[in-house]
């Protein structure tokens, strides 16, 4: 309940001059920020998928904006992160999430009187990767991809997918249940149907990359960022969503509206504890900074940037808190 307090008066006046253009905005913002040197800490935990984005963001913030503020970023996972976020008197300030908050989690927040706000920070594309030696499956349709991972299809060999493919076992893999990526793939793409038996689910993405890079018959799914950094070790399948094959890239993932990589694209989030943001100016300041720089940092860390309108929505909300 106490979260509702409006301390905005105090921290007011630092700047009210938000414009639409984030780029020029950053410049304009620097000076007042230096006047009011903030301190204290900002605690972020949650999704490992969002971690690279958030880590970069935190580092830039400490380097360029507020040296006195300590931003720490954990990667406990979305659910464990919510566990730390939803704590009676003051858990983490932000929780990164690769999915939206679940009903139970929302209910718990309610119960504890924690007011939170959901921000989309970037877009991630599920990328289906294969071994570079694999020259037969470079382009697949959505249904072929699903069938490869679904138990119901009964596929075990590449030749089951297409008779022209080699008569070799398919080695399917992916991140394990710990990851939001798995949940998204399982719930949204596979529509919660049973996955193929014997699929190799791993905790670490590095393991997956290694596995695919060493096995000609391997196929795996994971976030675009992991593909982007390992283009020398694995290659991505261009997926035909009905209008011809689409290669995953920051552009295609970013095209959320019309033609693009859309069905395999998902937003990633961070959740802000609004009460804490009201109490601690550095938290609010960091939130604003994050939204202002989200597009740049996303591109640097293997995510597609959000549309300007989305960013502006978030900024409007945050500025309202001041």
């Amino acid at each position: 309940g106490a979260a509702e307090e409006t301390e905005s008066e105090e921290s007011n006046g630092s700047d009210d001059t938000n414009t639409e253009e984030t780029d020029t905005e950053t410049e304009a913002e620097e000076e007042p920020a230096e006047e009011t040197a903030l301190e204290g800490s900002v605690v972020i935990d949650g999704s490992g998928t969002v971690y690279p984005f958030m880590a970069k963001m935190a580092e830039n913030y400490m380097l360029n904006e507020q040296e006195g503020v300590s931003v720490e970023v954990g990667r406990a996972g979305t659910s464990a992160g919510f566990e730390k976020f939803l704590v009676e008197d003051g858990g983490t300030d932000f929780n990164d999430a690769s999915r939206t908050i679940k009903d139970e989690e929302a209910a718990k927040a309610e119960e504890l009187g924690i007011e939170y706000h959901e921000f989309q920070v970037a877009l991630d594309g599920i990328t289906i990767v294969i071994n570079p030696e694999n020259d037969w499956a470079t382009e697949l349709t959505v249904d072929q991809v699903k069938d490869i991972f679904l138990a119901s299809s009964g596929y075990t060999k590449w030749s089951d997918v297409d008779p022209s493919f080699p008569d070799e076992e398919i080695v399917a893999m992916g991140p394990n249940e710990n990851h939001g990526t798995y949940e998204f793939f399982y719930e949204t793409i596979l529509e919660e149907q049973e996955m193929v038996e014997g699929i190799n689910l791993q905790q670490e993405y590095s393991t997956l990359v290694e596995l695919v890079s060493q096995d000609e018959n391997a196929i795996a799914f994971f976030g675009y960022g992991y593909f982007d950094n390992n283009k020398d070790k694995v290659s991505a399948i261009n997926i035909d969503f009905g209008d011809g094959p689409v290669a995953p890239s920051l552009e295609t993932i970013g095209l959320t509206e019309d033609f693009g990589y859309m069905p395999f694209t998902r937003p990633v989030f961070t959740y802000l504890n609004v009460g804490l943001a009201n109490e601690k100016p550095q938290v609010l300041d960091y939130a604003i900074y994050t939204m202002e720089n989200a597009q740049d940092v996303a591109a640097e860390t293997g995510f597609a940037p959000l549309a300007d309108e989305k960013i502006q929505e978030s900024l409007d909300f945050l500025n309202g808190l001041k």
Binding site: S41, V43, D45, Y51, P52, M54, A55, K56, A58, E59, M62, S70, V71, E72, V73, G74, R75, A76, E204, Y205, S206, L208, V209, E210, G225, Y226, N229, N230, G302
Partner: protein
């Protein structure tokens, strides 16, 4: 009446000596095996770290940018961790050892404590991690700060320190105690003035070795949950922190994201190994120097 056939015995002699020499070679190879593994391991790590270790790496803060990243924070985290671990384990470990060796009567209490310590020594470190998570981080509400990590580590290495200190105390010859008692000294006077000073080399060896174990230990801190990115340098035991092994862990699992992280991990391993090597050398020097004094 002769049972021993001298001829036969002499004929057997050569094969027996040959077997002995053969076995000796095999045992030697086995003993060298460890050395070979060590060389391979160190070679691998060093070659990955070449070009990455310099003063900037040691003195810079953590960064997501591999070129700028340094382990100063991790080093200071380790130092602060030791600031908690060392006094706590020395106090508890040496105290326990004195109690067991000098005061506890042979019997139930002593057996229980002794058995308990041997058992604790065998408890996997992840389990200590869970204890630390449940008790220090959550129940006591400390959070994942240096103090909580340090207390967990202190309990983890406590058995090693106890056992090493016990051995050191036991190695103090009885005749020194007798000499002291013979002068009319009380028990505590004898312990304080004679036994502990004589046992200090042994105790310090044990303490250093167990601290080096704590420095390299990862699992309990993974369980306790250390932020993956923590840039500010800790300056008290109430700060959040990271340590070198955690950095190695995160950098390696993230090497899929940024290739250079693997080099950073290797470079950190090299620094960690150098620190451990120095600690071990000090321990061995102390041990050799004071080994035979009586």
């Amino acid at each position: 009446m002769k049972y021993i056939d001298v001829e036969q015995v002499n004929k057997n002699m050569s094969p027996r000596i040959f077997k002995n020499n053969l076995a000796k070679s095999i045992f030697f190879v086995a003993a060298i095996f460890g050395l070979l593994v060590l060389i391979t391991l160190i070679y691998r790590v060093f070659s990955d770290s070449i070009g990455w270790i310099d003063i900037n790496f040691l003195m810079s803060k953590l960064s997501t940018d591999a070129e700028r990243a340094g382990i100063f924070g991790a080093i200071m985290g380790t130092v602060w961790l030791m600031v908690v671990v060392a006094p706590v384990t020395i106090f508890l470990g040496v105290g326990t050892a004195i109690y067991l060796e000098e005061y506890a009567k042979k019997g139930r209490v002593r057996n229980i404590i002794q058995t308990n310590i041997s058992n604790l020594a065998g408890v996997p470190s992840v389990v200590f991690g869970i204890l630390g998570l449940t008790v220090f981080v959550r129940a006591m509400g400390l959070g994942n700060i240096i103090l909580a990590g340090g207390l967990t580590m202190a309990l983890l290495i406590l058995p090693i320190v106890v056992v090493a200190s016990q051995e050191a105390i036991r190695a103090v010859p009885q005749f020194l105690r007798e000499a002291s008692y013979g002068m009319g000294a009380t028990k505590w006077q004898t312990i304080k003035n004679i036994v502990l000073p004589a046992a200090i080399p042994g105790i310090s060896t044990g303490v250093i070795l167990s601290l080096s174990r704590a420095i390299g230990e990862t699992a309990p801190l993974v369980v306790i949950g250390i932020p993956a990115l923590i840039i500010p340098i800790p300056d008290s035991v109430f700060d959040k922190f990271t340590i070198m092994p955690m950095q190695i862990y995160y950098w390696t699992i993230d090497s899929a994201l940024v290739d250079e992280y693997a080099n950073l991990a290797a470079a950190t391993i090299v620094i960690l190994l150098i620190i451990l090597f120095l600690m071990n050398s000090i321990a061995i020097i102390i041990r050799n120097k004071f080994q035979k004094r009586f």
